[in-house]
Subunit: 225 residues, 2 copies
């Protein structure tokens, strides 16, 4: 095992936080992150002139100075609390504390379907006025991975094949995924991303259980191998 | 043609800005966006307590109030200046004014290769300590699309097939792509995303020229069809 793999495994942590402490942290840092989400859109779309931009930037500098006084060197990693509640709060698609993430919040049906309704604003643009093809891929990778994990077969993406059937608008969207079949360490998952006019992108992915996670349960991923 | 397609085409605009005006805008809004990029990471990793978080948020609110006084309703769209210089500044992977974007800046070789060296921080995490599989897809979709466009065959993503060979670390990365072949309106492009230990993700994509853009040059995309 190389040092970098050892380092990466250290970021799967059971930190024994209680559910109440986790809720308190979500209430504190969630709104801060939402505030930064609005700033992403304003920095993209504002048309104010130099003096106003500089005045706004002074406020941003002041905010950064405060936030920087005590800071985790990063990355955030994946953490589990005392009750087993998982926090992937740094996740680029679903992280509560990651302003890049819309964030996606998944629902799970008894029959193994993972689905999410969400909204993409101007910051997810690719072709003019449309969702970026790579953002569609980000959403679907997360949806397929969540379905695999919910089905008891968590894994890293092995392959991801995407078919773009029609342009994906910005705005209100829906994504869903389900496990098609499990073949040993491989879980084959399919899904779709849909807009108001129907399915925009279809995806099929193979998710593979990492070697170090085989034969253990989720609590064991923080153990050195 | 539906209204939504008409609306979307309105976002491809020749606005006749001079190169000097474009440089001035980049100098004004680029650093603002960089500032928001740092905030994304700080909102994710800060460990300061309630009073500090609230003090920081007050500064963010003040900044937003200033930026909001004159704002484009969005999305940003794709704009061309008087000299033909293109600004896809809202692009989620490469947009100068989009804090979600690293942003990717591409170089082009005479032999048709598009390549970029870039850095992904903690905000692009998926598996603990690693680049999100969907962010790898976002980077590769942009790289393949850029190679197609540079080769004179711009298009929307039709299919994108990704093979994940090894985990993609965070940090310094390299992506490149080139046109494999052109078949009528389809351009087949291949590419890779690499880290310090070699190729992490391979991609093949088919990019398709939209119907309304066929038989025209890039200046014509702002014309109603």
């Amino acid at each position: 095992m190389t040092d970098s793999i050892a380092q990466q495994q250290m970021l799967y942590v059971r930190d024994e936080m209680s559910d109440a402490e986790i809720a308190e942290q979500a209430d504190l840092y969630g709104p801060l992150t939402d505030s930064v989400r609005e700033l992403i859109e304003l920095a993209l779309l504002t048309e104010v002139d130099g003096p106003e931009v500089r005045a706004a930037q002074e406020h941003l500098e002041s905010a950064k100075q405060i936030l920087r006084t005590r800071v985790n060197p990063g990355p955030y990693g994946v953490r589990w609390g005392a009750s087993g509640q998982k926090r992937a709060w740094g996740n680029a698609a679903a992280g509560l504390r990651n302003a890049i993430a819309p964030p996606l919040v998944f629902n799970f049906d008894a029959d193994g379907r993972a689905w999410t309704d969400f909204h993409l604003g101007s910051a997810y643009e690719g072709p003019a006025g449309l969702t970026h093809g790579g953002i569609a891929a980000l959403v679907l990778d997360q949806a397929l991975g969540s379905a695999a994990e919910a089905g008891g077969a968590p894994g890293m993406t092995g392959t991801l094949n995407l078919r773009y059937l029609r342009p994906t608008p910005l705005g209100a969207l829906h994504a869903e995924a389900r496990i098609d079949r499990v073949e040993g360490i491989k879980t084959i998952v399919t899904g779709q991303l849909s807009g108001p006019d129907g399915v925009c992108v279809e995806a099929e992915g193979i998710f593979i259980l990492p070697r170090w996670a085989r034969g253990g349960d989720s609590a064991k991923v923080s153990d050195p191998v």
